[in-house]
């Protein structure tokens, strides 16, 4: 199977898990509301209306169901919440077993019926929990959360810059300019007509470097590049410069693809990109726009270090910097 097909299969499976998780969530909600709103009816149907203990237990179980429901309906982490349901099922089956042991006749028959239903639900819960856990392990891409076995990540972003396409193209094509607005890049060193060496800050104060080559370009319209050789994180990108309808501006469309490796490097990369890799690329383009339209990256007292702005939230207060803060610079 091609990489793309694999990714689509993973996505389909994740969608199915999300759907089933939501279904279970709605069921929890229904059960919880019934147990809280009409505990006596529930007790009669279950055949435990003779026990004073059940008067306290049924609403408690109902409250617990509401917690399951809240988790399953609102969180994207269906696996953890599906497992909480499995634990709840085990508790319910234990209580039901004890109740059966103490009863006979009509009440016992009702209890056996209810127990049968709970066993069925338990199987469904267990299945969902196991599948959700697997789906999470195979592809937390594109969110990258907890990526252990790697995968590929595609980021897209776009902005409009009030300069004509040839000017925006020329600025980007002069690859030395990229680190002025791209948060991660330390330096781009042009090594040939189409080749360059890139270095970026990596976690734990280390640096990663890789070679890149331009694989396709149309002056004023498009540049496509990819990493070459033994890059730690193989990557590729395309930027298109499209004239905007106003006749003076340029729409910039960027697509970046990273092949996130497995193991320690992959984990470090995932952590580095954090929860919102898209946001970082959006911010990169916002700064590109600032540089092209106003001459440099805009600084405020709260966010004085330009391209590190978002990483610094909550920010320093909006009051002027002291001499020592200014001297220490961005590493302060």
């Amino acid at each position: 199977m091609t990489r793309l097909a694999t990714r689509e299969a993973v996505k389909a499976r994740q969608d199915e898990v999300q759907r089933r998780g939501r279904g279970l969530g709605w069921m929890s909600l229904g059960l919880g509301v019934a147990q809280l709103a009409a505990p006596d009816t529930v007790r009669r149907i279950s055949g435990v209306d003779d026990s004073p203990t059940s008067r306290a237990v049924v609403p408690l179980v109902g409250a617990r169901e509401l917690v399951h429901a809240a988790g399953l309906l609102t969180s994207r982490r269906k696996s953890a919440w599906a497992w909480t349901r499995v634990v709840g099922d085990a508790m319910d089956l234990t209580s039901l077993g004890m109740a059966i042991a103490h009863r006979s006749g009509r009440r016992r028959r009702r209890l056996v019926g209810v127990t049968g239903a709970v066993v069925g639900i338990t199987v469904l819960d267990l299945l969902t929990a196991v599948q959700a856990t697997r789906a999470k392990r195979i592809g937390s891409v594109p969110s990258l959360r907890g990526a252990r076995r790697g995968g590929s990540m595609e980021l897209t972003a776009t902005t409009t810059i009030r300069k004509p396409p040839p000017e925006v193209y020329a600025f980007w094509r002069d690859l030395d300019n990229l680190p002025t607005f791209m948060a991660h890049l330390e330096e781009v060193h042009v090594t040939g007509e189409r080749t360059s060496h890139w270095s970026a800050a990596a976690p734990f104060g280390t640096n990663v470097g890789w070679d890149a080559e331009i694989v396709d370009e149309a002056p004023g319209e498009k540049i496509a590049w990819r990493s070459t050789g033994n890059a730690d994180v193989p990557n590729a990108g395309t930027i298109r410069f499209v004239p905007a309808p106003d006749g003076v501006s340029t729409e910039v469309h960027v697509v970046l693809t990273y092949d996130i490796p497995g193991g320690t490097v992959g984990k470090a990369v995932a952590k580095y990109f954090g929860e919102e890799p898209h946001q970082q690329l959006d911010d990169d383009l916002r700064r590109l726009k600032q540089v092209l339209e106003t001459g440099e990256v805009v600084r405020s007292d709260g966010a004085p270090w330009g391209k590190r702005a978002r990483k610094e939230f909550p920010q320093r207060p909006a009051q002027p910097l002291s001499d020592s803060e200014l001297a220490k610079g961005a590493d302060a």
């Binding site: 959006d282 805009v298 909550p314």
Partner: protein, 391 residues
């Protein structure tokens, strides 16, 4: 230098902070000669604008003398020694929004645009001393301020007008004027203005200057209504009369042709239980606004009229009268004031004596007494309308 800072909810504090320095090439440093407390500063102090931090220098209405300019500032635009009024929105002058003269929507001046975008859908411009949502810029209730894009915003004052005559070009005069301008005023129009604070007073004066037949002031503070009445406007006290019936009476049953909300998110309501409803929802953050003025303006406006909103809103509101708005063909217009657009023409009107901005000033205090200034302004003590601070 000394500066008035945000020190938590319901607390401001004048303290020593470092002097500002040039950070960007197009910055200038201004030695402030006059600054003011704005009604919208109260939204910050009352804790209704998110992303304020302890120590943030407040203030977005200020003027003074240029004492330093960055190397990127065109000397034909601004030089050391110039006397300038600084507009509250920070705008680059080069992006699509600035090209369309929508300066408070500048696409470049807010380094925290990513945060603003999450709350507002699209980012907004940087503003001096107005939370980190609008950039985290130190404000102008201080001895000095750094002014970014100094070749775009600051207005040079070359005549001998006093600080008091021109200071309000920084915000409240253009804001009131834009409120009236958005109303497309005709000579037959009755214009009703909710809120007789400083911005409301200037909206009323502007409506008169733009040719309205009658201007109505709605508030509950007798001294503010008297101030409006002295300027020739018709007062309506919403604590004494039913606003709707009074407006019908004053307009022959038509309702005002144009309505201006100069109140915003912290409105009071004549009816205690409606006020309590919104106050509670606001306190538990299930709505961020108390929009009585806006609701009443929409319900009062004559069919086909214009409702112009210059009072500040920050988030989400409930019980918006969409039925009245839609079925009665009302037009709703709004925006933070694009001050840069209005400074020069309004300076001319001041020079010609058409508008007298000094009429709203009731208190002038040294900067060090900013805390007291906030106190009396917020609690409407001592008939306080507008406080000017002298650093």
């Amino acid at each position: 230098m000394r500066a008035n800072t945000w020190a938590g909810r319901n607390k401001v504090k004048v303290r020593d902070v470092p002097d500002p320095k040039i950070l960007n090439k197009r910055d200038a440093i201004v030695r402030i000669t006059s600054t003011a407390i704005c009604g919208s500063d109260l939204h910050l102090v009352d804790g209704y604008v998110p992303t304020m931090q302890d120590g943030d220098v407040m203030g977005h209405e200020f003027m003074g003398e240029v004492i330093e300019v960055g190397q990127g500032v065109d000397p034909d635009r601004l030089r050391i020694g110039d006397r300038v009024v600084v507009p509250f929105p920070i705008a680059c002058g080069a992006c699509g929004a600035c090209a369309a003269e929508l300066y408070t929507c500048c696409e470049n001046s807010n380094p925290n645009a990513g945060i603003a975008e999450k709350i507002l859908g699209h980012p907004v411009a940087g503003i001096f001393g107005y939370s980190h949502l609008t950039g985290g810029y130190a404000g102008g209730q201080a001895q000095y301020a750094r002014v970014p894009f100094a070749d775009v915003g600051p207005l040079k004052i070359e005549s001998d007008l006093t600080d008091e005559q021109v200071l309000f070009l920084s915000d409240i005069l253009p804001t009131g004027y834009m409120g009236a301008e958005m109303c497309d005023i005709q000579s037959t129009d009755v214009v009703a203005v909710w809120g007789a604070g400083p911005v409301g007073q200037f909206a009323m004066d502007s409506a008169r200057v733009l040719g309205a037949a009658k201007v109505i002031a709605i508030d509950k503070e007798p001294y503010r209504l008297q101030m409006a009445e002295r300027a020739g406007h018709t007062p309506v006290n919403f604590e004494e009369v039913d606003v709707r019936s009074r407006l019908l009476e004053l307009t022959g049953g038509r309702g005002p042709d144009k309505c201006i909300d100069a109140v915003g998110m912290e409105a009071s309501h004549g009816s205690a239980h409606i006020h309590a409803y919104d106050r509670i929802k606001q306190a538990v953050r299930s709505e961020t606004e108390r929009p009585h003025a806006l609701r009443q303006a929409i319900l009062s406006c004559r069919s086909g009229g214009i409702v112009s909103v210059i009072g500040v809103y920050g988030g989400f509101l409930d019980k918006f009268p969409a039925g009245a708005w839609m079925n009665r063909a009302l037009t709703l217009r709004t925006g933070q004031c694009h001050v840069q657009r209005y400074m020069k023409p309004l300076l001319k009107r001041i020079e010609r004596g058409e508008i007298d901005p000094t009429r709203v000033i009731t208190h002038t205090l040294p900067l060090d007494e900013a805390e007291r200034g906030f106190e009396i302004f917020k609690n409407k003590q001592d008939d306080c309308e507008k406080v000017v601070l002298k650093p």
